[in-house]
């Protein structure tokens, strides 16, 4: 079942076809490099002490080699589409988009660290508050704070009392 559904696939195709080719070539190089590293790592794995010494290696080796094959085909397919022109306007617009993704990831890492240090309630409360302030804006601080508080307490109650899963 596919989960990634663009809202407007048609527009995407006409705008991004050339960018796609460039992206595909990068992807092919990454895939190829990854496959090679994977095979080398696999060959350095310890052999099995019992049974067929190569037993544990067959599958990873096969996967690595297949990855190299796929990377090669992708690279082969992407060569010959040299003309690439990026729209400067689009790039600036995009870098702003990625800012939120970047902050989102940073927040997640911070949450993971905080969770260990302070336990569920404090870390979740802080995480949600910061995240909501970032997305929803500081002007709606009452809503942000109350949502964060209600959600944290609600989840905590549900897990501790109803599902009997203790959160730290």
């Amino acid at each position: 079942m596919s989960s990634s559904v663009g809202a407007s696939p048609h527009r995407f195709f006409t705008e991004g076809l050339k960018m796609e080719k460039k992206k595909d070539r990068w992807l092919a190089v990454v895939v190829l490099a990854f496959g090679i590293i994977y095979v080398v790592t696999t060959l350095n794995l310890p052999r099995a002490p019992v049974g067929n010494p190569m037993g544990p290696l067959y599958f990873p080796l096969g996967f690595g080699i297949l990855t190299i094959v796929i990377g090669s085909i992708m690279l082969f397919q992407s060569i010959g589409h040299e003309k690439v022109s990026a729209h400067g306007e689009e790039v600036t617009k995009k870098s702003k988009q990625y800012l939120y993704v970047f902050f989102g990831v940073i927040l997640c890492v911070a949450y993971a660290i905080l969770f260990d240090l302070t336990g569920f309630i404090a870390s979740t409360l802080i995480f949600l508050t910061v995240f909501l302030f970032m997305l929803n804006g500081p002007r709606r601080w009452i809503a942000n704070l109350s949502i964060a508080l209600l959600y944290t307490v609600g989840v905590w109650y549900l897990f501790e009392k109803v599902f009997l899963i203790s959160l730290p």
Binding site: M1, S2, S3, S4, V5, K23, V31, Y38, T41, L45, P46, R47, A48, P49, V50, G51, N52, G55, P56, F59, P60, F63, L66, T67, I70, I73, M74, Q97, Y98, Y100, V101, F103, G104, V105, C108, V109, Y111, A112, F115, D116, F120, T124, F127, L128, F131, L132, L135, N136, A143, I147, Y151, T152, V155, F159, F163, L164, I165, S166, L167, P168
Partner: protein, 500 residues
């Protein structure tokens, strides 16, 4: 005991108040999650999986099935009202569902979508009952080589059919298989790709993979456009009676009955999910129609057919999951993983040794269908208000839920970094248009896949010929090769036709 007696036993399990309660709640939560754009059934089940840890296995699986149907019912709500599909399989519901809303027929659209889903689900459940035991018996004659061949078929078919991108599908599959390799090798004790990290020795929990790829990955993807898409479309909040007229019913009945078998059989096939089923039935109706020009402008049969196919497909996909251990879709793979997590082996023994679970699930197909229809018909107007919750508030809450879910698996936070890593991977895959379903499928069946391979080699003392000894495995390999090369062949044929 006959199949019917078993089924009655299953109903006894399902109709216990506890289970009935969870079916209703699961169906409700599934509907809500299914409605939210970007959150499909697989994500829904993955996110709610931790909640089922404290339940008895049969209750847990029944609840998950209910979430699954709920999500299938709910997925089309936003297609119809906002022209935004809740998940891939609801794309076809936009084609005529949204025009119906524009024509002022939102009530009829919501009603027919629930009715078609209900009928499609009901007929498929009956087919499920008829096919479950025979299929499970086939599994008895399967040895490790045949299982290996079957999994090769399932994996290649998923990779090549999921979104029509063969190479990227295969790549996704390989990543999933590589994920499944990490940890101590169960046969030799050699630790593979653990990079001396203690926590990785036990392998990577597939739940973390699923929540990361589907849940967190989706959140990251949506953060990109969260500030741009400011204009929240006004959503209709007041509804008249959600029902259809006699004339609309007459138009829809035959399409529903045609779409159901299409959906069911596509569901059984590994790889081809609800998206393909819905699109195929839509196209079939358009071709058969006497007035194809009405399609795309609010033809009710153009909504009824994909809706029925969609639900029939989801039930079809569970059939090989529980009888053979081979999931028919990404969502079914999640359910298979859950089954394994409860220490249950899918296959004939599931129905023999744990009839309360096996037949409970079957009976829950019927009950869940009824419950979801009840939730979705009278309450539709109320439920769609969920769609008015702005994503700015929704996504932080979903992110927190992802983390809590992962915490609940092992009651520890060690997997959090893995979760973020998989979230980033899921995000990258969405950006690069790499389908995610093959990865999920591969990471769930990967270990068993390797086991079957090496068990076969042990049986034959290292002779690779064992894989081609039985007719079944040869046939399965041929099918796998066909599924792999079919896209190329059909593309070549097309090119020939256009050049002529």
């Amino acid at each position: 005991m006959s199949t019917l007696e078993y089924l009655m036993q299953g109903f006894q399990v399902v109709l216990q108040p506890v289970n009935l309660f969870w079916i209703s709640l699961g169906g409700f939560l599934g509907t809500v999650i299914g409605m939210l754009p970007g959150l499909g059934p697989a994500t829904g089940i993955a996110l709610l999986l931790p909640l089922t840890f404290v339940m008895k296995p049969e209750t847990a699986l029944i609840t998950m099935c209910a979430i699954f149907y709920g999500a299938m019912f709910g997925g089309s709500r936003s297609s119809i009202l906002l022209n935004i599909p809740g998940d891939g399989s609801a794309v076809a519901s936009c084609f005529d569902g949204y025009p119906m809303t524009l024509n002022g027929e939102a009530e009829a659209a919501l009603a027919i979508s629930a009715i078609a889903s209900f009928i499609g689900g009901l007929i498929s459940s009956i087919a499920f009952v008829a096919l479950a035991l025979p299929l499970a018996k086939i599994a008895l004659i399967f040895g490790p080589p045949e299982y290996f061949a079957l999994m090769v078929l399932a994996l290649t078919a998923t990779a090549s059919m999921s979104e029509g991108k063969l190479l990227k599908g295969l790549l996704s599959m390989l990543i999933g298989l590589m994920i499944s390799i990490v940890g101590l090798d169960p046969q030799s004790g050699v630790s593979r790709f653990t990079f001396n990290v203690m926590e990785l020795q036990g392998g990577i929990d597939f739940v973390v993979v699923i929540i990361g790829i589907y849940g967190l990955g989706e959140v990251f993807k949506n953060l990109e456009k969260i500030k741009i898409k400011n204009a929240i479309q006004p959503i209709k909040r007041k509804f008249g009676r959600i029902w259809i007229s006699k004339e609309q019913w007459k138009r829809s009945l035959l399409p529903i009955l045609r779409a159901t078998p299409i959906g069911f059989f596509i569901g059984i096939l590994p790889g081809a999910g609800g998206t393909i089923a819905a699109l195929m039935s839509y196209n079939t109706e358009k071709k058969l129609s006497k007035e194809p020009e009405r399609f795309g402008k609010g033809a009710i049969e153009g909504l009824a057919a994909p809706e029925a196919a969609n639900n029939a497909c989801s039930i079809g996909a569970i059939l090989p999951t529980f009888t053979l251990g081979i999931p028919g879709s990404g969502t079914a793979a999640v359910m298979l993983g859950a089954l394994i997590m409860y220490g249950l082996q899918p296959g004939p023994l599931l129905f023999e040794h744990y009839p309360e679970i096996g037949w409970g699930i079957v009976a829950s197909l019927f009950v869940g269908n009824v419950v979801c229809a009840i939730i979705n018909l009278p309450l539709a107007g109320l439920l769609v208000r969920v769609l008015a919750v702005p994503p700015k508030i929704l996504y932080p809450l979903i992110t927190a839920l992802c983390f809590i879910g992962v915490y609940a698996i092992n009651l520890s936070a060690v997997d959090f970094y893995l979760l973020i890593l998989f979230g980033l991977l899921g995000y990258a895959m969405r950006k690069l248009e790499i389908p995610t379903a093959p990865l999920i499928l591969a990471s769930v069946v990967g270990r068993k896949f390797e086991q079957s391979f090496r068990q076969s080699l042990m049986l034959s003392q290292g002779d690779f010929f064992i894989f081609f000894k039985s007719g079944i495995s040869i046939a399965l390999f041929i099918l796998a090769a066909l599924s792999l090369f079919y896209p190329m062949i059909s593309a070549a044929l097309k090119r020939k036709r256009t050049s002529n």
